[in-house]
Each structure stands twice: as structure tokens, then as C-alpha cells.
């Protein structure tokens, strides 16, 4: 169905004032890039949830990486966006300015080459990302073990999406009528990966792709389900998302990782929401090899309200720092740093 037709159908069926939330940084970005909010009816409110893995990285984790690098002279290998996220004293970029090596990679397998090509240096590979990315890092560690690489260590900052969704729904700060399911996390965990959340909360849930046509079509289906009053868990991204997801990726992920607590910026510590290294891969676990206690710094109040933005309670434009003290060149929090962050998207695309 063409976009025009879909929009007409949406207009004709959408009566209620509803809040729908997306949980994927790429959805946040694409919705802004194509100005999708402008063409939806006014009674439909699109909220952005904690869908950007970089944005939900706790300040302490950045501080920890910096402390590890300085104390043990480790080079850092990670994905691009993490490099600009501010910790309490600075970002990984500041490490680079102090002469420490920071290597940005596209594929985590690159880390193996970097380690092999520089046998006299030690590196910390920081694993960041949700279920879409974690299997890639898991496989990288399997290869590292196979190839007997001794100068590469790993820190998992990986988090799982369903627990975050549950936390937001439990907090009940906003009345959520429907959920836009992340297309690529779903490619890994399948439609079944959401069954638990769906059954527990009976909230209309539609998995959708990322092209504007796919998003609008998905939103149409979501609105239809909401208006009909019978909650459903629907997959409209069948071309990539199978019922059971990608079993190879899931198997690999759980070969290396086990579930454990994780510290989410804006949400606090959530049980079973993070991926930790299993004992069999302890040799790579930087927390075990290079133990480091960092004193929990007293909450430095820099007035950052990313937490509320991530929970969908505060619009970036309503944050007092937005566009003034907090800009992409001088971000006060991760929502403004990451290219997928809500504040960054609002800033870049004019929040219209």
C-alpha cells in the first residue's frame, strides 16, 4: 500500500488520543529524518524510548573505562559513538588527547587484527549494543580464544531490550498505548522474543522495519490494533524477522554471555537486563584480570535530564539545557552525543 493511502486510512481510523513509543535508535533517527511526526494525526503522539545503546550507558561505565586505560595502559577499541559520551570527568576523546590509543572500528572482528598486529600492546574491546550487536562481539571472543590472542580484553556493556521495556511500563510515568518494536533486535530474538513482555502487559506491539514506508505501514497496523481494543503482537517486518529470530546468533550470544544486572542511564540498575561474560571466557574479562575499584563519585549535578528523556517523560525541547548548555559540540549527556540519541535527533532535525 502506498504512503498516501496508508495516511488516509490512518486518518480515518484514528480517533483516540494515544501514546506510542519506539525503542530503537534507528527508528528515532529515521522518524525524524523523514518528518513522520508531521504527517501523523495530532492525536497520535510518538515518543522515543531508551533505544540507543550508547545513550543508556551509565556515566560510571565511562569513568571506569578511562580509569582502566590510564591505570593499566590499555588501548581502547570500540564503536564510534561511545567515544564522545561524557563521563563525570570527560569522554574517551579526552583519553586520546592524553596520548592513549582509541581505535574506532566498524566490525568487532577488526579488534582481532589490531591485537595481532600489535603484540606488544594491550587492548580493551568495549562491547556495546543490544541484541543486534552482542552476537557479533560474542563470536569475536570465540575467535579470540581459538586464535589464542593474549593481548585483548573485553568489557561488556551489552544490554537487553525487553527488560528496559518492562521497566518503563512498570514505572507507569506515561500511559503507553502501543509499542513500535525494534526491527533489528527482533531479527535476532524473533517475534517470540517479545512474548513475555506482551503477555505480561497485554500492550499492542508491532515490529516494523526502517524505511519510511515500512514505519508508516507499521504505525497504521498499530493504530488499528489499538482502536480495535484487542492487543496483538504483530510482525510487519517479515522479510527480516522470523518467528524464532536468528537461532545461530542467539546460540552464539548465550554461549559467551549470561544474563545479569546492568546499570541503565535514566533507569538505574535492572536485574537480568545485561549480558556478562561466562566463566569459560574469564581470561578476557577485564573486570577479573584488571580489578579496579573506582569510588562512586558523589552525584555531580550537571542538571542533565537524559534519564527523563529516555523514559519518554520529557521532550528534549522541554529540557532547560537543550540547545543552550547542552549541544552536540558540548553535550551534557549521552542523548545529545549519539547520532541515534533523541536529543541529538531533535537538535539535528529541528524537532519538528
Amino acid at each position: 500500500m502506498e504512503i498516501k493511502e496508508l495516511l488516509q486510512k490512518i486518518k480515518s481510523i484514528s480517533k483516540k488520543e494515544i501514546n506510542i513509543m519506539e525503542f530503537c535508535g534507528t527508528h528515532t533517527h529515521e522518524i525524524f529524518r523523514y518528518g513522520i511526526r508531521q504527517i501523523l494525526p495530532e492525536n497520535v503522539h510518538l515518543l522515543s524510548g531508551p533505544g540507543c545503546p550508547v545513550c543508556v550507558t551509565a556515566e560510571e561505565d565511562i569513568d571506569y573505562i578511562i580509569a582502566l586505560s590510564e591505570e593499566y595502559n590499555l588501548g581502547i577499541i570500540t564503536f564510534g559513538d561511545l567515544v564522545n559520551v561524557p563521563g563525570s570527568l570527560g569522554s574517551l576523546n579526552h583519553l586520546r588527547a592524553k596520548g592513549k590509543e582509541i581505535k574506532v572500528i566498524y566490525s568487532p572482528l577488526e579488534a582481532l587484527n589490531i591485537a595481532k598486529e600489535n603484540p606488544n600492546k594491550k587492548y580493551l574491546l568495549v562491547g556495546i549494543g543490544f541484541e543486534t550487536t552482542a552476537p557479533n562481539l560474542a563470536y569475536t571472543l570465540i575467535k579470540a580464544k581459538e586464535e589464542n590472542i593474549k593481548n585483548l580484553y573485553f568489557l561488556s556493556l551489552h544490554k537487553l531490550t525487553p527488560p528496559a521495556m518492562k521497566a518503563i511500563l512498570d514505572m507507569g510515568e506515561i500511559k503507553l498505548d502501543g509499542i513500535i518494536g525494534p526491527g533489528h533486535v527482533s531479527t535476532i530474538i524473533g517475534r517470540t522474543g517479545w512474548k513475555e513482555v506482551f503477555e505480561a502487559y497485554r500492550i499492542p506491539f508491532v515490529i516494523m522495519g526502517f524505511k519510511p514506508e515500512e514505519i508508516i505501514r507499521g504505525i497504521y497496523h498499530l493504530i488499528k490494533i489499538i482502536e480495535e481494543g484487542e492487543p496483538k503482537l504483530l510482525n510487519t517486518y517479515e522479510k527480516s524477522v522470523k518467528e524464532e529470530g536468528n537461532k545461530y546468533a542467539l546460540e552464539t550470544m548465550y554461549k559467551i554471555f549470561k544474563k545479569g544486572p546492568a546499570n541503565w542511564r535514566g533507569l538505574g540498575v535492572i536485574e537480568n537486563s545485561g549480558l556478562l561474560l561466562k566463566e569459560e571466557f574469564e581470561e578476557f574479562d577485564v573486570r577479573k584480570i584488571y580489578p579496579l575499584k573506582i569510588e562512586k563519585k558523589p552525584e555531580k549535578n550537571n542538571f542533565c535530564r537524559c534519564g527523563e528523556v529516555l523514559r519518554g517523560v520529557l521532550k528534549p525541547t522541554d529540557c532547560p539545557l537543550f540547545g543552550k548548555a547542552c549541544t552536540p559540540e558540548n553535550p551534557k549527556g549521552p542523548c545529545m552525543v549519539s547520532s541515534e540519541g533523541t536529543c541529538s535527533a531533535y537538535y539535528l532535525y529541528g524537532g519538528e
Binding site: Y34, G35, Q38, I105, Y106, N113, E329
Partner: protein, 333 residues
């Protein structure tokens, strides 16, 4: 061990003299430079343009060029887009100890070919060498002097509603090519920087059309950056049409993989032109017939007074196209 540039080469003594006479003059030599006076003296008159640029790109050799070629074309382009015919260049090298002589010669050769192609002479220069770790292989500064002939100075022509925005070809190529190379992603010959000298394009164009109101080469910050500069400087609202943007398919794929919009990616062989709508056909005909303008497109228009740039998306909605506020990746120019 391969021959290398050492600290002594920059000390001003015998080694420096040898480097200049046996290497640099061999490639750049001309009657002015060969004298090796502290300043080179010449006479000229007319409206002159002077520009300078420093080049710190890494990697120094990339698909489609190298830092040497870039240092020549980059400065030529800064003159060309202002309507100035390039005359003379100065070249300053800051070399990190350890750069191989082979690499240095390759860069010199590249610069020689580039300057000959553009009809410019390098008439003065300087060479310094810094200790290992205090530089990154080589940094180059070039300054360029050009002369603006009658009718070629587009400054002062008012930008108005309905003026068109034109670009001479595909966007985002240089920036994305460098990023792919930096991330170690292997590419085909087709993936290369769009590095090219624009003087043979902009100067004749200014001669045939007096309706050109603004020209700039969209390097760092990309096309989005330049359009925002125009909007702010002249208080106009510009709307870009997403569907009309010329983008090569490898650029599109790379931009999706890396998450970087081609509108923000650097270009080194492109010029953004604002022109009177009445001149559109004439300008497009000229560009399409030129080797550097085959893929030229009208990509937008000036909507009237304002301060911002908007994008009309391919689904018909309109959104703001703000300038990029941070480095996509450091040192791509």
C-alpha cells in the same frame, strides 16, 4: 633500511640544501623558485585573490589521490570558486622524521603534475622536519594567489527568491572514501575521492553567465554545511530536494553502513552554485558538457528571506537540514 627524511634535513644546513636542490627543485623548479631567494618577486596588477589552506589528511595516500595533489587542487579550488585565475602558489612542508624519501618523492611528483595541469607555478616554499611522534608523516600548507578579471567577481550580486541551487556532480565521495579506508574496509577502484581542480569549470562558467551569485566548494561539513553558511550570511531560506541529489550507489551503500549522511560528507571536486533561475538552462548545459559536470543537478532553490535550510524528503515531508555540529571523523581534509 629505506632512505628517510631525518631531522637534519630540516636544520637549514647541508642536508636541507641537498633536499631542496636535489629533490624539491627537481620537481617544482622554475625561474622564480630556482633563485631560492627569501622572497620571490614578481609584478602583476589587477584585482588579486589570496588564499591559504593546511592539509593534515590521514591516510596521506588514498584512492583518487594523495595529500600532495589535495594540497594543490584544494587551494586552486578556493581561488577558482571566487572567479580568480590561479597564478602562483607557495608550499610549506612540515615533515615528521622517518617519512621515507620514496613517499616524499611520490608526493612531490603528484604536486608537480597537479600544478602543471592547472597552469600554476610554485614560486616559494619552506621545509621543516619535526621529531618522530610530533607530526603525522607530513603536513602541507599551500597559499595561492590568483587574478580576477573583469566581470568574474560574483560578489555583491543579490541572492533572491527562486534562485536555483546547483551542484556539478555526486556528493559525499571524498569524505566517505577516506572513512572507508580509515576503517580498513577494502574497496574497488570505483570507490575514490572526487578530488579534482575546478578552474577549468568555474572560470569559463563565470564568463558565460553573469547570473551566478555565489560559489563555494563543499569540503568539511559537506553540502549541508555550505548551504547553511549561505542561509546565515545572506538571510535566505533554502530548500533542498532530496530526490534530486546526485549520489553514486557506492556512496549510498557506504553511507548506510557507516551511518553518515552524504550531505555532511566532504567533497574535493565539487562546487555549490547559486544562480538566477533564468540562467539555469545555460549553466546546466555548460556543466553537462564538461568532464567535471556530467552529473550536475539542480538540487534546490532559494525560497525567500529566512535563515535556515530545509530538506524536502522523498516522501514529501519537509524537515530542517542543520549544519553538522561535530566531526564525523577527524582529519579528512
Amino acid at each position: 633500511m629505506e632512505d628517510m627524511i631525518l631531522l637534519s634535513h630540516g636544520s637549514g644546513g647541508e642536508s636541507t640544501r641537498k633536499l631542496i636542490e636535489e629533490e624539491i627543485l627537481k620537481y617544482f623548479g622554475n625561474e622564480l623558485l630556482n633563485e631560492l631567494y627569501d622572497s620571490s618577486i614578481f609584478e602583476t596588477s589587477g584585482r588579486l585573490a589570496l588564499t591559504t589552506d593546511s592539509f593534515v589528511i590521514s591516510p596521506i595516500f588514498f584512492n583518487g589521490g594523495d595529500i600532495g595533489k589535495l594540497s594543490i587542487y584544494g587551494t586552486i579550488n578556493d581561488l577558482s570558486v571566487m572567479g580568480a585565475k590561479p597564478l602562483y602558489l607557495s608550499v610549506g612542508f612540515i615533515i615528521e622524521e622517518g617519512l621515507t624519501l620514496r613517499e616524499f618523492r611520490e608526493i612531490l611528483k603528484s604536486m608537480k603534475l597537479a600544478s602543471e595541469e592547472c597552469g600554476v607555478k610554485i614560486i616559494t616554499g619552506d621545509t621543516k622536519v619535526v621529531e618522530k611522534g610530533k607530526g603525522d608523516k607530513i603536513f602541507i600548507n599551500t597559499s595561492g594567489l590568483g587574478i580576477i578579471e573583469e566581470g568574474m567577481d560574483w560578489r555583491g550580486r543579490e541572492i533572491k527568491e527562486q534562485d536555483v541551487v546547483i551542484i556539478n556532480g555526486g556528493i559525499g565521495e571524498h569524505g566517505l572514501c577516506i572513512m572507508l579506508q580509515r576503517l580498513g574496509i577494502k574497496t574497488d577502484a570505483e570507490v575514490k575521492s572526487d578530488l579534482a581542480p575546478l578552474n577549468s569549470l568555474t572560470l569559463p562558467l563565470l564568463k558565460i553567465s553573469s547570473g551566478i551569485k555565489f560559489m563555494r566548494d563543499p569540503t568539511r561539513g559537506g553540502v549541508a554545511g555550505v548551504l547553511n553558511e549561505i542561509a546565515q550570511k545572506y538571510n535566505v531560506e533554502i530548500e533542498v530536494n532530496e530526490e534530486s541529489l546526485p549520489i553514486k550507489s557506492w556512496v549510498k551503500s557506504a553511507s548506510e553502513i557507516l551511518g553518515i549522511d552524504p550531505l555532511y560528507s566532504a567533497n574535493e571536486g565539487k562546487v555549490v552554485i547559486i544562480a538566477d533561475k533564468k540562467e539555469e538552462e545555460k549553466i546546466m548545459n555548460f556543466l553537462k558538457a564538461h568532464p567535471l559536470g556530467k552529473d550536475a543537478k539542480v538540487i534546490g532553490e532559494v525560497k525567500g528571506k529566512g535563515r535556515r535550510v530545509y530538506l524536502r524528503t522523498r516522501i514529501g515531508t519537509r524537515r530542517i537540514l542543520d549544519p553538522l555540529k561535530r566531526d564525523l571523523l577527524p582529519r579528512i581534509c
